[in-house]
């Protein structure tokens, strides 16, 4: 099992460690609900070092990126970030990822930890189509610390040298700067997986621990808490952000996953384009929707969705929502049953429990 460079910090903080793919990661420290609320009301600090980073560079870097992703990277300026699915030819999703344009002819893809090996295989296979492109796996090089929550700007600014903090406070959503955090080279982007104001900090692995400790200390009096994978999941679910392996995978396409805003069908050929064009023309069969339980019961991944006793879909994510104090979920449901406000049943341990389709995100 792999450990991030912050593993000892997690142990010292009393984290409960779980196996997550091939990684040993903190699932919680003080408790998922407490950590969740800290992120919504103050700030939370996450170790996301298990994520993979793939550097794509060379004259054909943009061409390769454009072939791989469904979103359009051609208009990006250096310093920008976009979110995109990466599809196979059949339109199934290989992974969902962030693309950073580091400079002209140089991009960094940030991919899900459990998909890194598979993604690299796919990226390298596509790279063979181009002459001038290098693909380098930087996953072992980078640690990734995510500072998320309304007070995150205050906290990160407080540990940056004067002048450097200006770049951070001016940062727009889905932008990044190459800067120094307490004298350590870092890429800091205004991105995250919580829906709150927040920053993701990429650092050389060996230098992550002091930055982690400094952020914890700087935020301590402001209500910052270290937060684990448990809170990361409830936070992203409330914002209806997809989790690969739960809500999207190789058997789902971006259009039915309600990610049409990340699919640029007008750009030149890319993996999955033909299939996605067909799907768009024919219309999707099912759609990923959000729902709230009307009765007692917590929806979970894999539970059936029913309408008048007939199975019409399946839950992909579900949990207690700490912000709403209600039970919420995402589900693929046959298109004709996906109108907002429609009553559905979730089959929980052979019992049909009432729920209602609602607008996403939940909060």
């Amino acid at each position: 099992m792999k450990k991030t460079s912050l593993y000892d910090e997690h142990l010292n903080l009393g984290a409960k460690i779980i196996n997550f793919g091939s990684w040993q990661m903190p699932v919680q420290y003080s408790g998922i609900i407490e950590e969740h609320k800290a992120v919504r009301n103050a700030a939370g600090l996450f170790d996301a070092s298990h994520m993979g980073e793939v550097l794509i560079s060379g004259k054909d870097a943009l061409n390769l990126v454009q072939r791989l992703i469904t979103n359009d990277a051609s208009q990006m300026k250096a310093g920008k970030v976009i979110y995109s699915p990466m599809c196979y030819e059949d339109g199934g999703i290989v992974d969902d990822l962030l693309v950073y344009k580091l400079e002209n002819d140089q991009y960094m893809m940030v991919v899900n930890a459990s998909n890194t090996t598979k993604d690299l295989r796919w990226i390298n296979k596509n790279a063979e189509l181009f002459e001038n492109v290098d693909v380098v796996d930087k996953s072992e090089y980078y640690a990734l610390i995510a500072l998320q929550g309304p007070l995150s700007l205050q906290i990160i600014s407080s540990i940056m040298d004067e002048g450097m903090d200006k770049g951070i406070s001016d940062l727009k959503y889905y932008s990044f700067v190459k800067t120094e955090v307490n004298g350590i080279d870092a890429i800091v982007s205004r991105t995250g997986y919580t829906g709150e104001l927040g920053f993701e900090i990429y650092l050389e692995k060996g230098k992550a621990a002091p930055v982690w400790s400094m952020l914890l200390e700087a935020g301590n009096k402001k209500g910052l808490k270290p937060a684990g994978l448990g809170a990361r999941d409830t936070l992203r679910l409330e914002k209806a952000m997809c989790l690969y392996g739960n809500d999207i995978d190789e058997t789902t396409n971006p259009l039915e996953a309600d990610l049409a805003w990340t699919v640029e069908l007008s750009k030149e050929d890319f993996n999955g384009k033909k299939e996605l064009e067909k799907v768009k023309e024919a219309g999707i069969d099912r759609k990923l929707v959000g729902f709230v339980m009307s009765e007692r019961g917590i929806p979970r991944h894999g539970y059936e969705v029913k309408v008048e006793g007939k199975v019409v879909g399946e839950v992909t994510s579900g949990s207690y929502s700490p912000s709403l104090d209600r039970n919420i979920g995402l589900a693929y449901i046959d298109k004709e049953y996906t109108s907002i406000g429609r009553k559905i049943d979730i089959s929980i341990r052979k019992r049909d429990v009432n729920a209602k389709i609602v607008e996403k995100p939940f909060i």
Binding site: K16, I32, I33, G230, I298, S319, Y320, P322, R349
Partner: protein, 127 residues
């Protein structure tokens, strides 16, 4: 890890205490800690008969779904209604306000199959 002396324990981390013919059943400190924040509880109905080690309810934390099993054959005489609105009582006081069900035992000799506090402590160390 607290394991009160006067209780009997199962390998699935339930406990039962005995007061005359009546037993009280709950989950252990260790079990609640492993589960994390408990947010949902499903319990049987009063008068339901249960065999020893039969599943009688479900406890869900934010992340996990866990079945609970009765330590002895019994009839349910009372359920802890306050858990419906305050499932967190199980986290806060697993041996007290966080009890799950009260039962009438069918066969007290089944208690011999359970662990006492010291045995359970040793069992936890081995897990």
């Amino acid at each position: 890890m607290s394991t009160p002396n006067d209780l009997y324990y199962t390998e699935n981390h339930e406990w039962i205490s005995l007061d005359g013919e009546e037993g009280v059943v709950g989950i252990t400190e260790h079990a609640q800690e492993e589960l994390g924040d408990i947010v949902y509880v499903e319990l049987p109905t009063v008068d339901e008969g249960l065999d020893q080690f039969e599943e009688f309810g479900v406890i869900e934390s934010v992340k996990a779904v866990s079945d609970v099993f009765t330590p002895v054959s019994c009839v349910v005489t009372e359920i802890n209604e306050s858990l419906m609105d305050q499932p967190e009582l199980i986290n806060e006081d697993p041996y007290g306000d966080g009890w799950l069900i009260k039962v009438e035992l069918k066969d007290k000799s089944e208690l011999d199959e359970l662990m006492d506090s010291n045995e359970y402590k040793t069992f936890l160390e081995g897990e």
